[in-house]
């Protein structure tokens, strides 16, 4: 998280830390046996990682402490079936579910996020919050969970940002921005999610109930915290049916 702050204990109880082959990623609790993350955390070079190599931690804001805990057992991995990203240029459908072997018992440090109704519209400018144990502004991996509040960015502005990046980096393969994604961030840069945060939650709060709900999944971005660039998130509201069906079927 760039430009963010340390999260006090129990303020982001849905935060999950994943470790895949030594790489760090984020995820969020959405049920007592289900965790949601980005598909690209589980599918590497076109192949699903072995569930035995995936380690799941939660319940603390300290990464070192988490890493010392016994990982939660993984029962099965369920990347979105349409996620195909062999050359890291297509993050469409970047969503996956992890089923745990044992149900969780929720407490102040571990609580689930709510899911939005199908096709909920995200208001441009609405402030959300993204969190993670990823790289922070000094390019150092965070040991403490951090968070940053970021607004939802208008889709056109986001597309323009992606287009400008393509123009500026003609040799790079900039991923495609689809309707299954949305952007969040500030044009002046400095505040963004970053590497190691992917799979974590971008949450919005419902005013009437003061409940946080999973609006996005940290997916990709051109750099981190750069001026005129935004973070790109999987639009969770597009996948409610798939999420429910996957959980029901499994």
């Amino acid at each position: 998280i760039m430009g963010g702050e340390k999260a006090p204990d129990k303020t982001i109880p849905w935060q999950v830390m994943l470790s895949v082959d030594g790489g760090r990623a984020g995820a969020m609790v959405i049920g007592d046996r289900w965790i949601m993350t980005a598909a690209h955390n589980l599918v590497q070079k076109g192949k699903l990682v072995l569930k035995e190599k995936l380690r799941v931690f939660m319940g603390d804001n300290d990464a070192e402490k988490l890493a010392k805990l016994t990982p939660l057992g993984v029962a099965s991995l369920h990347p979105h079936p349409e996620y195909k990203n062999p050359d890291n240029a297509n993050y469409n459908h970047d969503i996956a579910l992890i089923k745990l072997q044992q149900p969780l018992t929720f407490h102040a440090a571990i609580m689930p996020l709510c899911l939005p109704p199908e096709d909920t519209i995200y208001k441009t400018g609405q402030i959300g919050m993204v969190s993670g144990f990823g790289i922070k502004e000094d390019d150092i991996i965070a040991n403490k969970l951090r968070y940053i509040r970021l607004p939802v960015v208008d889709g056109n502005k986001c597309q323009a940002s992606v287009n400008s990046a393509k123009a500026a980096m003609p040799t790079e393969t900039i991923p495609v921005l689809t309707d299954n994604m949305f952007c969040a961030g500030v044009p002046e840069g400095g505040q963004d999610s970053c590497t190691g945060d992917s799979g974590g939650a971008y949450v919005l709060m419902e005013d009437s109930t003061k409940r946080f709900w999973a609006a996005g999944i940290v997916s990709w971005g051109v750099g981190c915290g750069q001026t005129g660039r935004y973070g790109v998130y999987t639009r969770v509201a597009k996948y409610i049916s798939w999420i429910n069906k996957t959980m029901e079927d499994n």
Binding site: A7, P8, D9, K10, T11, I12, P13, W14, I30, G31, D32, T105, F106, H107, A108, M111, P112, L113, C114, L115, M129, Y147, V203, M205, E206, K210, R211, F212, W213
Partner: protein
């Protein structure tokens, strides 16, 4: 031979008959036929030296040493005494013949002796005149002669006494096994005959008891004493099993006499003197009564009768929320019958309050007892979730009551326990900051 019956007939002849009988002879024949018969003697031939009074030769016929006749001579002879063709009938079943001859049997006409048949002849005892000893007729009512004997019988309504010759009014006794009936002394309402020994047995089905109800007209001869009537010569004895027999006499009716027994024996006795006007009773039966069952706490006995009798059934039902218990075990149903001994065949059960058992555990929640105890009927519990991390669906607390079917049921009568739904998106600590 001594034990064999005498022959019913036979022949007796003089020695050497039909040759002349020897001289200087003295021979005796003891003839007999069975008891109950007379002996009849018929001469087919008699030829004994005739003489006056049969002085020289004679055939003497005796009964119990009493000379019935003395014969000699020939048929149509001038001297002697010839029996002719008339048979001789003995007063009893015996007869003795004695042939005596002198030293000579005159020649040339020698006498041949005698030949006779004897036979048993039935005695018609019924035609005999009454004995002179004043003991009355042979049969007091009907006499029937039989071969060698006789028998007495009685007219309808009478029965032969043990003496087999006199009749007495029939007792009408025997066994009375109908549910009700009437008994009375012989000849009632006429005075009772003398010498009665009547027995009446009332014996109905076990499980019923007999009640005797004497009519007011009751009179049995008694001897007055300082201690009340003494049933010395006439009495009606009432015998009930396992109780002392009770002799009744006097002029006061016993009225209603419960026996509490299914069998009663009545013995009516009169001797040969005195006067008893007799008695009459109507007996009824009723079923043995069982004690009314005590009330059942938290239950009831059905049907509810004022009294319970043999073969009545009762059932016990517990109030809703209570169960039938007997000997420490729960039973599905209870029915008991009043037995013939007046006892219920099963002791009464008890109604114990039911319990629903421990409420099912609620995952991520718990249960609180609101009222009642030990999970008993109508106890109320309330499920709750481990808030703020879980909440009941709908957010309301749910009360469950221990129902009569031993399940915990909510206000909608549903036995399904609630579920604790995880609370999402509501951290216990919210991010806050004051810097702007």
């Amino acid at each position: 031979l001594a034990r064999s019956l005498p022959a019913l007939h036979g022949v007796v002849q003089s020695p050497q008959f039909p040759q002349p009988y020897p001289a200087a002879l003295s021979q005796q024949w003891d003839l007999s036929v069975p008891e109950g018969y007379q002996l009849q003697l018929s001469f087919t031939h008699l030829d004994i030296e005739p003489s006056a009074d049969c002085y020289y030769d004679s055939l003497t016929v005796l009964y119990d040493k009493k000379v019935l006749a003395k014969f000699c001579g020939q048929e149509n002879s001038a001297d002697g005494h010839h029996p002719g063709n008339r048979p001789l009938l003995s007063p009893g079943n015996r007869l003795t013949l004695v042939l005596q001859t002198d030293d000579t049997n005159p020649e040339p006409h020698q006498h041949l002796g005698f030949s006779a048949h004897y036979q048993a002849k039935d005695i018609d005892e019924c035609s005999a005149p009454d004995p002179e000893d004043g003991s009355g007729p042979l049969c007091s009512q009907l006499c029937h002669n039989t071969l060698g004997s006789y028998m007495c019988s009685c007219r309808h309504g009478y029965e032969l006494r043990p003496d087999q010759r006199t009749c007495v009014l029939s007792c009408g006794g025997g066994i009375f096994d109908e549910p009700e009936g009437t008994l009375s002394s012989p000849g009632y309402p006429d005075p009772s005959p003398h010498g009665l020994a009547c027995q009446y047995v009332i014996s109905v089905e076990p499980g019923f008891i007999v009640n005797l109800n004497f009519t007011d007209s009751f009179h049995i001869e008694h001897i007055g004493t300082q201690n009340g009537p003494s049933c010395l010569y006439h009495w009606l004895q009432v015998s009930i099993p396992d109780k002392e027999p009770q002799k009744l006499c006097g002029g006061k009716s016993p009225g209603l006499m419960p026996t509490n027994s299914y069998t009663v024996q009545l013995d009516y006795h009169t001797d040969w003197a005195g006067l008893s006007q007799g008695w009459s009773l109507h007996y009824t039966t009723q079923r043995v009564q069982c004690a009314s069952p005590s009330s059942i706490t938290n239950g009831r006995v059905t049907p509810n009768f004022p009294q319970y009798y043999y073969r009545d059934y009762i059932q016990v039902r517990c109030d809703p929320g209570y169960k039938l218990m007997m000997d420490g075990r729960e039973i599905k149903s209870y029915a008991s019958m009043c037995q013939k001994n007046g006892q219920w065949h099963l002791s009464l059960p008890e109604c114990h309050i039911i319990d629903c058992g421990e409420p099912k555990a609620l995952l991520n929640g718990g249960v609180t007892f609101i009222s009642g105890s030990q999970n008993q009927h109508l106890s109320v519990i309330q499920y709750h979730c481990n808030e703020p991390f879980y909440s009941l669906l709908g957010g309301a607390t749910v009360s469950y009551t221990c129902a009569a079917d031993r399940t915990w049921r909510d206000n909608l009568d549903t036995p399904v326990i609630p579920s604790c739904i995880p609370v999402c998106g509501q951290p216990t600590v919210y991010l806050s900051g004051f810097q702007r």
